[in-house]
């Protein structure tokens, strides 16, 4: 039975990124880049979200001789879960902009 503990700030970032356009299937690397997570953090999060049935997955066939790509998006349960997330907690999970000179 999956545990229903509070998600980590990193998991919330992934959930928010997926919820931004819930109908769209997302690639793992693009998602990792968007939420600024390393692959080693992203995949355990995706696995846990899928275990909790908040995430659905699909395969995109690759060109001949190439491996297929895995795709991710929120399930209806996942969308409800994101909608019910504590607003204050969500704000804390959003990464702050780094201090320093910004580009043009």
């Amino acid at each position: 039975m999956a545990r229903s503990r509070t998600p980590s700030p990193q998991a919330i970032r992934v959930l928010l990124a997926l919820a931004a356009d819930p109908a769209r299937w997302r690639y793992g690397y693009d998602l990792a880049t968007e939420v600024q997570l390393k692959s080693g953090s992203l995949y355990p999060i995706l696995i846990r979200l899928a275990d909790r049935e908040l995430l659905e997955t699909s395969w995109e066939p690759g060109p001949p001789g190439r491996p297929p790509r895995h795709l991710y998006r929120l399930t209806p349960t996942g969308r409800e879960y994101v909608a019910a997330l504590d607003v204050a907690r969500v704000k804390r999970s959003v990464p702050r902009r780094r201090l320093g000179w910004s580009g043009a």
């Binding site: 690639y27 690397y29 390393k38 692959s39 080693g40 995949y43 995706l46 001789g65 190439r66 895995h70």
Partner: protein, 339 residues
């Protein structure tokens, strides 16, 4: 001391040659660089119900351009795989291995400082090698425990090796500290270093029907037995101040000598012998069974495909490997006895 380093180098060289010859290939991957191989190895550590996630990582890596980006992705995924705790008994066994290694290290550290062994620079080098070995065994054990069908037989095999060593010591600290003069006398080395590892390799292969699982069982048994004996011997040394006093030698010298000798036995010779001899026995067992089944089934279509790499090559290669394995262990044992 050079003999210990020679054992390490021999074992490492053998392992590197073996990996080079048998590096896994994934026909689905067009690219075959080191990052792909690293990730393929990491994916092999995932439990069977998580394999699709490993394929997802490989699929993503295949689309990435740039060497550093691919490396970062593969190393990150390896970390992610290792973060996923092994399930059930495998997780508990991994925890037990860490606890045994930590217990042995704590006792070793106690003796190291209590008897003033920290005064010599060379002892610090040996301590660093010891810690590197322990970390390596824990990582290797953790990786092997994640392989399907290996945890139970490997743990059992390691405990059998450990039990036989203890039985030959007469279950006494004196016997543990002097294995060659224990209850089994000179018989203890051939039995513990050759006969029992052969049984582990044969048993692992027969139980699983796979040469790969048999070889992994032997490797895990080597890790379990080595760490177990390391803990037992450090307890014996700390409890008895290195054993019976020797005329003309200080207690610190006796303890230091005992730690060096028994650490090289428990963390080098026992794991090396168990893994190498068990590996050769597993390969030979699978080959013999394969030939036996092939003779019974003349129709080659009905022949079993053979689970693993043991079906590749021929008898001469197998016998060469067995001879090399026996030679490595024999050389290591001779160096240990001479040193």
């Amino acid at each position: 001391m050079p003999s210990i380093l020679a054992i390490l180098l021999l074992g490492s060289a053998g392992a590197v040659l073996w990996r080079r010859e048998h590096a896994p290939r994934d026909p689905l991957s067009v690219r075959d660089d080191v990052s792909v191989r690293l990730l393929q190895w990491a994916v092999g550590l995932l439990p069977s119900d998580r394999v699709s996630w490993g394929q997802a990582m490989l699929g993503e890596l295949d689309r990435l351009e740039g060497r550093s980006k691919r490396w970062r992705f593969a190393i990150g995924c390896l970390g992610g795989v290792l973060v996923l705790r092994p399930r059930g008994g495998a997780g508990a066994t991994a925890g037990a291995l860490v606890a045994v290694a930590a217990g042995g290290t704590a006792l070793f550290g106690l003796a190291f400082f209590r008897y003033g062994l920290d005064a010599l620079h060379w002892n610090w080098v040996m301590l660093a090698i010891l810690l590197a070995l322990l970390v390596g065994y824990i990582l290797a054990g953790s990786a092997l425990l994640r392989r399907p069908g290996v945890a139970g037989p490997g743990l059992m095999g390691g405990l059998v090796v450990l039990a036989v060593w203890l039985a030959f010591s007469g279950f006494t600290f004196a016997g543990i500290l002097s294995p060659i003069t224990g209850a089994g006398g000179k018989l203890s080395y051939p039995v513990c270093l050759i006969v029992v590892p052969v049984l582990v390799g044969v048993g692992g292969t027969l139980r699983s029907g796979s040469a790969i699982v048999g070889r992994r069982t032997a490797r895990l048994a080597g890790v379990v037995a080595g760490l177990g004996m390391f803990l037992v011997t450090t307890i014996a040394i700390v409890t008895t101040n290195g054993g019976p006093p020797v005329q003309g030698q200080s207690v610190a010298y006796t303890v230091g000598d005992g730690l060096a000798n028994l650490t090289s036995l428990t963390l080098m010779l026992i794991p090396l012998a168990t893994a190498t001899i068990g590996w050769a026995a597993a390969t030979a067992t699978f080959r013999i069974r394969h030939v036996d089944v092939a003779q019974q089934n003349h129709d080659s279509i009905n022949m079993p495909n053979g689970s693993g790499r043991a079906t590749e090559g021929n008898w001469s290669r197998t016998m060469l490997r067995v001879a090399v394995a026996a030679g490595v262990v024999l050389a290591a044992a001779l160096m240990f006895l001479a040193g």
